[in-house]
Amino acid sequence: MGRDPQPDAEFMMRDTTSHPPAYTPQYKTSVLRSPRLALISLQHSLSEVTAPVFRAEELGPKDNDLILNYAKDGLPVGERIVVHGYVHDQLGRPVRNALVEVWQCNASGRYRHKKDQYIGALDPNFGGCGRMLTDENGYYAYRTIKPGPYPWRNRVNDWRPAHIHYAISGDGWVQRLITQMYFEGDPLIRSCPILGVAPSEEQIRGLIALQDISAFVQLDSRAYRFDIVLRGHRATLFENRVQGGSDTTAAKGGAQ
């Protein structure tokens, strides 16, 4: 796209058809945790267009290497993989210096978490979390063990497909996104009630990482590619910006 966004530019209105609704009875836990009243829509102020800025020195050198960042007396068990991709905004611009945090279970489907009681074994050499900042091109990469599938209490035979959780913090508070990445070809994808709440096939496809042979580490690791799209800035032509100026637009402000 041509023009660079102004640093204080507002973001485009969120397209709610890109996301699951709050209330999704097939994912039972959502029933009592979903607001029943309409959200109040806000035009953006500085509170929405700003966000925390992270510095590389806040992260450790192994923070994006889940194979080594918890290794105690050996290497973790499982399939070695690299996951990489780009964080862009809706207009295709790279989101630079975005904080990408990931977490997952181990190859047995067990989380290193005091509340996880699954019979799958813990791996003494695997923690299951990592984090990194995107570079100038919005690119990120990390190395890990492919997570296993596991059963969970929703219906009695529901299984989660293998997945990695993501939390992404971009330029603006309203870009904050939490999601999950799945793996191409996993037969459990079709029946997962959590992935099933995504609003369309197109949006489900957007959560599935593709095997990326071009990025395989020869004689070492396979690779998966997963790109992420965050909210885009919008043009604010002939409008007051989020700071400065007086109210000169005669907008119809009332609810209809």
């Binding site: 996301h19 035009q43 500085l46 989380y111 400065g244």
Partner: protein, 230 residues
């Protein structure tokens, strides 16, 4: 590649421009729940292990930070009043002068505080359900069209069962006059709901001597917290 599905705007069929619209806006990646084990990635010590040298946490202040020390604490309730113990909350706020530590904030006459970023995350306790943040009270920030916003903290709530993060704001009970003029509070046409955004200043002090504000969040049902579509 995944995540790059292009969503074309504009007219389709006989009314479309010759050659189709050149306006291409991608769809935002779909949100998914944080799940029950969100602590592993975002607060590993609460999951039960140590891995990073530098954990992001719920203390936003250092001894050098300028401003009035406050603690915000509370609990999160579901639609039948159950205290939820697996919730993660992040906050983002301006400094004591009302300036955000971000390049887009160019408000005149307000300085940055090198000892305050204004961002933190907290988890509700597995036993008590309480969360808390140790921070400073933010100053007022200029809002749209020059209208001042009352001091407030932005909050984002995720958990198992929440499909897309919930955005709300924390205002302060001892700022009643500023709150009454706040352009965002006044957008809420149901006046009875506005109080759900106001943290109540208590008589208690934290162990560090900070004034304690109480801010409970109700995801659903009676006195449901106002959440924003931002």
């Amino acid at each position: 590649m995944s995540g790059t599905e292009q969503h074309r705007h504009g007219l389709e069929g006989p009314y479309a421009a010759p050659g189709g619209s050149s306006l291409v806006v991608r769809r935002e990646t779909a949100s998914q729940t944080a799940g029950p084990y969100v602590h592993i990635g975002l607060a590993p010590q609460q999951a039960g292990f140590d891995i990073f040298e530098n954990d992001f946490g719920n203390v936003l202040v250092s001894p050098e930070t300028r401003g009035e020390r406050i603690r915000i604490e509370g609990r999160v309730f579901d639609g039948i009043g159950t205290v939820l113990k697996d919730v993660l909350i992040e906050i983002w706020q301006a400094n004591g002068e009302g300036r955000y530590a971000h390049p887009a904030d160019r408000q005149a006459g307000k300085s940055l505080d090198p000892h305050f970023r204004g961002w933190g995350r907290a988890c509700t306790d597995f036993e008590s359900g309480l969360y808390f943040f140790d921070t400073i009270k933010p100053g007022a920030v200029e809002g749209r069209n020059g209208r001042t916003m009352a001091p407030h903290i932005n909050a984002w709530i995720v958990a198992r069962g929440i499909n897309i993060g919930l955005n709300t704001r924390i205002y302060f009970s001892d700022e009643a006059a500023a709150n009454a003029k706040d352009p965002v509070i006044n957008l809420i046409e149901w006046e009875s709901r506005r109080k759900t955004l106001v943290a109540e200043r208590t008589d208690r002090k934290s162990e560090g001597g900070a004034a304690v504000y109480r801010f409970d969040i109700r995801l659903q049902g009676e006195d449901e917290t106002v959440f924003f579509d931002v």
